[in-house]
Symmetry: none
Subunit: 224 residues, 2 copies
């Protein structure tokens, strides 16, 4: 089964070039193109491509807005969107990925990259330009440098770490005591030791510390 691709770019030359390149592949079929964001959205709903190659900068409606509309469609027949850009402007990257774009590619990438990129996103995977990947990783983990975590947090005993984890979920001392089946006084002792070891003043700072070190994470699924 061939991969149906729609190309959205304001430069006719670019559309033609990409179309020629991709149409030369047996498993890829260009089903349509669009010179601006508005057309990209309408053509996508009309032609139902598997993959939309979307330029970021376009007249009437930019690629981000167009991608947003396309990706807000019901999941069932929603196409994958691969963003293309001449420069790697980071703000756009995060915005596009947040909206659910499957990848971000620089236009000066080797032709082979574009072809394999189409296959990858069609398969449901994602793909980023290397420089973009680097920044995404940093963005994703900058909050939790491994050193900061180990350096201070590993001074804690398992029990103390467990207590800190509960503090970081907003539990009071009596609640923690109930959760761990120990007396409130015991909890207070643990809490005090945690504060002393991590040089914290109160539980509010402990919560900050837990998030900043990565002990707990915003949107953490382990909040059972």
């Amino acid at each position: 089964m061939t991969i149906k691709v729609l190309i959205a770019d304001d430069q006719a030359m670019v559309r033609a070039g990409f179309a020629a390149l991709l149409n030369a592949q047996e498993d890829i079929d260009i089903v349509g193109d669009a010179p601006d964001g508005v057309a990209a959205v309408t053509e996508t709903t009309r032609l139902r491509p598997d993959v939309v190659l979307m330029d970021v900068r376009m007249p009437t409606m930019d690629g981000l807005e167009a991608a947003k509309r396309i990706l807000s469609a019901p999941e069932a027949r929603r196409p994958r969107v691969l963003m293309l850009t001449t420069f790697d402007i980071d703000d756009y990257v995060y915005e596009a990925l947040r909206m659910g774009a499957s990848g971000f590619l620089l236009k000066d990438a080797p032709p082979g990259d574009l072809i394999s990129a189409v296959r990858i996103v069609a398969a449901g995977d994602a793909l980023l330009a290397p420089s973009v990947t680097r920044r995404l990783i940093e963005e994703c983990f900058k909050a939790r440098p491994a050193l900061r975590r180990s350096s201070r947090l590993d001074a804690l005993t398992p029990r103390e770490e467990e207590v800190l984890r509960l503090i970081a979920r907003g539990l009071s001392n009596p609640e923690i005591a109930a959760a761990l089946f120990v007396s409130e006084q015991t909890v207070k002792t643990h809490v005090g030791k945690v504060f002393a070891k991590l040089e914290l003043r109160d539980r509010a700072q402990a919560v900050v510390c837990a998030y900043e070190t990565g002990l707990v994470t915003a949107g953490d699924p382990r909040e059972s």
Copy 2:
């Protein structure tokens, strides 16, 4: 200038194969190899490669631990580490990236991918297997849906939000008062209103709320 590469893998066949493949490139030079994690660390310090190809599963010390030690070296002459794995086990991925690995590649990737991967990480960029990229993106953004933020937090007045932001940095009431040039009593009023509006019990829960809604973010650079 050639890229000096060290290969760490417990299977001699794999080492030989990768070495042959990479040595065939003009700009890449295999300077050494290691059959386990311990050797990987010692050889890295001895040979100072630019890039270390590190298998995840190895005897005596696994690739993650070895990568951790290598990446905890002083920044100046620290090599890039590209993790290799047969299966894409996600736990390992995050752990490795958290520690500062430059990428994660599946061993069954096309040979060309490995070669370009070495060049990419040597250049300071990063590279992930497509399936890994997809999950990293999800991981990176699932925690901060734009919607969750507006839901409850927009009931706060600007001043209250400002106070919450300071609470979320671990400041006490007197400290917040000093920061905002108001009396401590005023701060207490604001704090009380924030708690009432967001149904919070104490500042620890307020900190949790601030992180979970995305008002503040772990590793937030705006911590001046």
